[in-house]
């Protein structure tokens, strides 16, 4: 599992001078997503840019360069906007990217900021026609008197050019901040969720969307719960799940009613009265929800734990994994410095046997559901030289017995948080976003899923 992970060279998100310690805010990565084959990896950042990496095909001659990800394309997806009615600036930060399954030579992805979703077409051009009759090589019109014979233009190879163009803009449908988008398994529709509403779109229709969930109370005074994440079922195009800030998950069936305010299933773990604190509600807020690839399970992340739920059992999660329980006694400070509101994402591996999520101090955790083993790894320049094996880390309680290389809870750096992680759909390759750096790790020894 994770213990034998090799580190591929760190890929800088930007030309980042190694001596600089400050981080340009616009470079902070805000989302990471592999496409359905894993060949492409897209990242979005706070400055509204999307960078797509492509995996180099494996070559026999250079065994060490096989499977590396290099920059494929960069484009500006969203620009900052100004809402004149409310006198509010709309951030260009990319909240989510989702790839569409590939149906022809081009790739399509959806990217969204707080208000607007855009569909982008990414296509390659590696040939161009040459041999025009009326134009010469530079495009100037030929002197007709010099044309003596007709030729058929032929396609000649050229340097690869990647073109990205916006195909659809889905705007003006969200009053609140969009936190999730999810493409349906029918490949024709997708949904976008903000704090209080979920809308269903058709990929070809931009001027209207269908509202399927609305939890806005008639009287906003009564608002106590918001939607935090939403996702379609990977196989059943009528099912989707959304999570709330109160720690509940709701599975909805679009066949039951047009408006899915009433859930089909409600997943909620009863609160443990002995563990109750002032922050119980805040730490129970679900920050991410992901269906397993099989569609049988749900993975959720709240502040301190990651939970695996069985769709057939609503009363409690199947498995609960403590991500950083040592923070439980520090909740007061974490509330004060706002860290308690951090939204960590989570990810399944391709075979649904391992789950992964991020933590603080550039640590990320992986849990093997079968062996019940877990590992803590660090994504940082110092600890990961190219092709070095990542060393498992350990966090010990302050003042407790401390082994060499252990980190004490009090020395954790809470500004270095790993909020966004992604796992290759088929192989043991993971992408970790650490502030403005992207780390890609491959498990060379165990490339195949098991």
């Amino acid at each position: 599992m994770g213990e034998d992970t090799d580190a591929t060279p760190t890929l800088n998100h930007r030309g980042f001078l190694p001596d600089h310690n400050y981080v340009t805010e616009a470079d902070i990565i805000s989302t990471v997503e592999f496409n359905h084959t894993g060949e492409l990896l897209a990242t979005g950042d706070k400055g509204g840019r999307v960078v797509i990496f492509q995996r180099e095909p494996e070559s026999k001659t250079e065994p060490f360069s096989q499977g590396e990800y290099n920059v494929y394309s960069t484009f500006q997806s969203h620009e900052p906007e100004f809402d004149y009615l409310k006198s509010l600036e709309i951030e260009e930060k990319i909240n989510k990217i989702r790839w569409l399954p590939q149906q022809n030579a081009a790739h399509f992805l959806l990217s969204t900021n707080d208000k607007t979703i855009k569909l982008w077409k990414v296509s390659e051009r590696d040939k161009r026609p040459e041999g025009y009759n009326l134009k010469d090589e530079e495009g100037r019109i030929k002197d007709l008197s010099t044309v003596t014979s007709l030729q058929v233009p032929v396609l000649m190879p050229m340097d690869l050019m990647v073109e990205v163009s916006p195909r659809r803009v889905f705007a003006n449908a969200h009053t609140y901040h969009v936190n999730s988008i999810s493409v349906n398994s029918d490949y024709q529709t997708y949904m976008s969720a903000d704090d209080l509403r979920i809308n269903l779109w058709h990929l070809d229709i931009t001027d209207r969307s269908f509202n399927i969930v609305d939890i806005k109370p008639a009287n906003m005074e009564d608002l106590t719960e918001v939607i935090t994440a939403a996702e379609f079922h990977p196989h059943h195009c009528n099912l989707f799940v959304y999570s709330s800030s109160k720690g509940t998950l709701r599975l909805c069936d679009m066949r039951e009613a047009a408006l899915c305010d009433k859930h089909s299933k409600l997943f909620e773990e009863p609160e443990d009265p002995s563990a109750r604190s002032f922050f119980s509600e805040i730490i129970s807020s679900v920050s991410d929800v992901k269906f397993s690839h099989s569609g049988r399970y749900l993975l959720t992340r709240d502040y301190l734990t990651a939970k695996v739920w069985d769709l057939n059992m609503e009363s409690k999660p199947l498995e609960t994994y403590q991500v950083h329980d040592y923070l439980r006694s520090k909740l007061c400070s974490l509330y004060e410095n706002d860290c308690i509101f951090d939204k960590f994402e989570c990810a399944w591996n391709g075979s649904d046997s391992v789950i992964m999520t991020g933590a603080y101090n550039n640590f990320f955790r992986m849990f093997d559901r079968n062996t019940k083993r877990d590992v803590t790894l660090e994504a940082s320049r110092e600890s990961s030289k190219p092709r070095a094996v990542l060393k498992p880390r350990r966090v010990c309680a302050a003042g407790g017995k401390r082994r060499k290389d252990d980190i004490s809870v009090d020395s954790l750096d809470f500004t270095k948080k790993i909020l966004h992680t992604a796992w290759h759909p088929n192989e043991n390759i993971i992408a970790i976003a650490a502030t403005n750096n992207l780390y890609i790790f491959q498990d060379k020894l165990n490339s195949e899923m098991h």
Binding site: L85, T224, T228, D413
Partner: protein, 312 residues
Amino acid sequence: MIMKGQKRKHPPEEVDVSDRSSPMWESQRQFVFSVSLNKYHHSQGLPEPSLRRSVLIANTLRQVSLEAFAAPSVDMEASPPPCSSSSGLLESVFTAKHHPAETFSNSHSALDEDEDWGSISTDSDFSLSAVISSILTALDSTIDGSSQAAPRTPLRSLENLPAPTDGGVGWVKQGFRGYGGGWEQQEEGRARESSTELMRCSYLSELTVEDLFQDIDSSLLEMDMGVLGLLGSGGGCPTGDDLLRYLPPFSSSPSHPFSLSLNQNLKCLPSLSSFGPLSSSSSSPTCLSSPPFSSQNHGLDLEHLMEILVES
């Protein structure tokens, strides 16, 4: 443990919070309460307030206030009850919420048209606790005389303020000033401390009540006097209820300076001002009997209010 560069305060840590009788529980509760208030005010100033964050903070505030009240043995100690005034205030507000007053359906419909404003200002309005704090903020800023330009609020709701508002505001100023001078020196009573905390926190607000009152069309105020007159006619609890009806949604969108919420909050100012200085029952009579207040003629029954507070 803390963000780099931040001065370390001392949050109560390592507390077994499920144990209410633990002395740390109360200090942690107060800490959470003051931090939550701070956060709420702070979020008003952010360009992009996150609705999720605001809702969670508001829920925490509400829970913290309710829990304080739910442990009366702790609160009712002879040695100054911790936060009893502030928590009592909030608690009466919250319980009142659950007893909607039928008589105010008419006035409430007046709020409906303001709902349009609410729906326009997106990340709008929720949570009574935050409403309370914004009220207290407004109260405090009159004393503070904050020089920061208060964002103008939509005027519609100001129409509903009771007539002798200026007198009320004046009284508020007077009452608080008396306190203001003594803040630094006061050592008695955590009760005082906690209300002090509240007021201190509200220094963060940019709002000055004077700005808001400037545009009051007094002719429109008459019609609501009758409505407010009913405030005092009910029993102890219902008074709180009616008060509650007026406590509006607040806007967490800062450039819509509390938009409809704070305006409507101001409706309540005259009545709340009677709560304000009453951090402990012993000090109340002086404030209540001060002349400017007694000149207010909107039918508030002060005795009833006193009873509520004493009971809580």
